[in-house]
C-alpha cells in the first residue's frame, strides 16, 4: 500500500524496518527525506518508500529503543537525524540474517535459479 511502485505491497510489507535499520547501520545517521532518496537511488527506483510508511515506522523504532535522534535547527524548521542504538545495531544484524535466511528458503521453495534470479520455465 505504502511502499513501492514495482513490487506488490504484500511482498514488501514487513521489510521496511529491515531496510531502515540496515541503511542506518551503513550510513551512520540520516534524516527522513534522505532515507527515501537513498533507497530510491540504491534500488534504481524499484523501491520507493513513501512518507506515510516511513515516519510511523521511524517513530515506532525510536519508541522501541532501536533508534535515537539528534535535532538540528535550520531556521524555523527542525531536522531530526536518526541513528542506531546498540540495541538497534543488534536488531539490524538479526533482521538482515533472518531475511537472508528467508530468501534462501524461498529460493529453495520456489525452485528459483540462483544465478539468473528468474523463475525456471
Amino acid at each position: 500500500m505504502y511502499l513501492c511502485l514495482m513490487y506488490t505491497s504484500e511482498l514488501i510489507k514487513g521489510t521496511l524496518k529491515t531496510i531502515v535499520l540496515e541503511l542506518l547501520k551503513k550510513q551512520g545517521r540520516m534524516y527522513g527525506y534522505e532515507i527515501t532518496q537513498k533507497v530510491k537511488e540504491l534500488t534504481a527506483g524499484k523501491i520507493q518508500i513513501t512518507e506515510g510508511a516511513l515516519y510511523p515506522t521511524l517513530h515506532a523504532l525510536e519508541k522501541n529503543g532501536e533508534l535515537e535522534t539528534e535535532k538540528e535547527y535550520m531556521g524555523k524548521r527542525v531536522r531530526k537525524y536518526y541513528k542506531l542504538t546498540e540495541q538497534g545495531k543488534n536488531t539490524a544484524t538479526e533482521r538482515v540474517n533472518e531475511f537472508a535466511d528467508f530468501i534462501e528458503t524461498m529460493r529453495f521453495l520456489l525452485d528459483l535459479q540462483t544465478k539468473s534470479g528468474h523463475v525456471q520455465g
Binding site: 527515501t36 512518507e51 524555523k76
Partner: protein, 396 residues
C-alpha cells in the same frame, strides 16, 4: 536550488497541524520532508502554493492524518498480535476451567471452586478487558465501540461478582445483581436501539437482543429468587424442633436430678454437661450480639428466625473461626474434648455418646448453620445426660 521562505515554512506547518497531525515530532519530520522536496523539485519560476497542492497527495491516500493514525497504531498497538493471541488463549482457559470446575462441582470432587474461580478470573480480568481494547481498535462505528465496550464492562462486573460470591467476599450480590440488572434493563435496549436502524445488521440485532434478553432475564430471576423458600422454612422448622426438644429434655433432666442429687457421679456429669451447654449459649449470644449490633442481654432474647444476617459468614470467620478468646472455635473444641473425656469414662463401651467434633460444621460456614450445630450439640448433651440419669435412677 529553491530556498524555502520563512512564511512558506509557517504556511506548511499550519497546514500540517490543520490536517490533523498533532504529534510534534511528526509535524517536524513532515515539515522538513516537505521543505526538502520543495527545495529539490521547485524551480524559481514555479508557484509555491500550486506546487504544494501537487506535492501533498504523495504523503497519503485519503488525508494527511493517516500518517498520524498509523503512528498512533504502531505506538499504541505494537503488541496487537500478542494481544489477540492472549485473547484467544485466555478465552480457551476461561472456558476450560469453568467447564471442568462445573463438572467437578457436580461430582463433589476437590478443586472445583478453585477451577471455577480461575475460569472467572481469566474471563473477567484478561479476556473481557482485552475485548474492550480490541473492539476500540477494530470497530469502525463510534457508537458500536462504546455500546459493545459497555456490554463487556457489565460482563466484567457480573463475572467478578460470581467469583466474589464463590470466595465469600463482600459486595458479591451487589456486583452480580447490579451487573445483570443493568445488562437486562439498560444494555440490551441500548444495543437494540443503536443497531436496529441499520438494514445490514437488523436481523442479527433482533436475534442477539432476544437471546441476550432471555438469558439475562433467566439469570436475573435465578439469582434474585435465591434458594427455595420451602427449604428455608424447613430449616427453621428443624431448628425449632431441636430447640424445643432440647428444652423439654432439660426440664425432664432437672426433675430427674432432684431424685438422684445425692450421687456424686451424677453431680459431676451434670456439671460437665451444664458447663458445655452454657458455653454454647454464651457463644451463640455473643455471635448474635455482634451480628445484630445489640447487647448480650438483647441478643439472648432474639429467636433464631429473627436474626437478620443468618447468611453472613464474615461474623463466623472473624468472631469464631479465626478468633481467640472465650468465644473462639479453639475454645469450643477444647471444651468439647474435656466433655468427651468425661463421657468416655462414664460410657467406655459407647463411643457414639461422644460429640463427633470433626463432623461438625464449625469452619467456613454461615451463621445459621453454625447456630444449628450449637443446638444439635446442646440436644445431644441433654439426651446423654437424660440417659445417664435414667440409668442411675433405675439402678437405685
Amino acid at each position: 536550488m529553491y530556498r524555502v521562505k520563512e512564511e512558506e515554512v509557517d504556511f506548511m506547518l499550519d497546514d500540517i497541524r490543520a490536517r490533523g497531525v498533532i504529534l510534534e515530532d511528526l509535524q517536524d519530520n513532515l515539515l522538513d520532508h516537505m521543505c526538502c522536496i520543495v527545495e529539490q523539485e521547485l524551480t524559481e519560476s514555479d508557484n509555491f502554493f500550486a506546487f504544494y497542492e501537487r506535492m501533498l497527495p504523495r504523503f497519503f491516500q485519503m488525508e494527511l492524518k493517516e500518517i498520524q493514525d498509523e503512528t498512533d497504531n504502531l505506538l499504541t498497538f505494537k503488541n496487537f498480535y500478542a494481544m489477540k493471541k492472549t485473547l484467544k488463549y485466555s478465552g480457551i482457559a476461561a472456558t476450560f476451567f469453568a467447564l471442568l470446575g462445573a463438572i467437578f462441582k457436580i461430582f463433589h470432587l476437590p478443586g472445583a471452586a478453585a477451577m471455577i474461580i480461575l475460569g472467572g478470573l481469566f474471563f473477567a480480568l484478561v479476556f473481557l478487558p482485552l475485548m474492550i481494547v480490541l473492539k476500540f481498535r477494530d470497530e469502525e462505528e463510534r457508537t458500536d465501540k462504546w455500546v459493545l465496550s459497555f456490554g463487556f464492562l457489565l460482563g466484567i462486573i457480573t463475572s467478578s461478582g460470581m467469583v466474589f460470591k464463590l470466595m465469600h467476599w463482600p459486595a458479591a450480590n451487589i456486583l452480580m445483581l447490579g451487573g445483570i440488572s443493568v445488562f437486562v434493563f439498560a444494555y440490551v435496549p441500548i444495543y437494540f436501539m443503536s443497531r436496529i436502524r441499520r438494514p445490514e445488521i437488523r436481523f442479527n440485532t433482533i436475534v442477539n437482543s432476544v437471546l441476550m434478553m432471555a438469558l439475562g432475564s433467566l439469570l436475573f430471576a435465578m439469582i434474585n429468587l435465591g434458594y427455595s423458600a420451602t427449604l428455608k422454612s424447613s430449616f427453621f422448622a428443624t431448628h425449632d424442633y431441636l430447640y424445643s426438644h432440647k428444652e423439654d429434655l432439660a426440664k425432664a433432666n432437672s426433675l430427674l436430678l432432684q431424685k438422684v442429687a445425692d450421687d456424686d457421679s451424677v453431680i459431676r456429669f451434670h456439671r460437665a454437661s451444664s458447663k458445655l451447654n452454657e458455653h454454647l449459649e454464651e457463644t451463640r449470644n455473643h455471635l448474635v450480639a455482634v451480628s445484630e449490633g445489640v447487647s448480650i442481654e438483647k441478643a439472648r432474647s432474639i429467636p433464631f428466625k429473627d436474626i437478620k444476617r443468618l447468611n453472613d459468614n464474615r461474623i463466623v470467620r472473624q468472631e469464631f473461626e479465626h478468633a481467640r478468646g472465650p468465644f473462639s472455635q479453639v475454645e469450643l473444641r477444647k471444651q468439647i474434648e474435656d466433655y468427651n473425656t468425661l463421657v468416655k469414662s462414664y460410657f467406655p463401651d459407647q463411643p457414639e455418646r461422644l460429640i463427633a467434633v470433626d463432623k461438625l460444621w464449625l469452619r467456613e460456614t454461615v451463621l445459621s448453620v453454625l447456630l444449628q450445630e450449637f443446638v444439635q450439640i446442646q440436644t445431644q448433651l441433654a439426651h446423654t445426660e437424660n440417659n445417664y440419669l435414667c440409668y442411675v435412677q433405675a439402678k437405685s
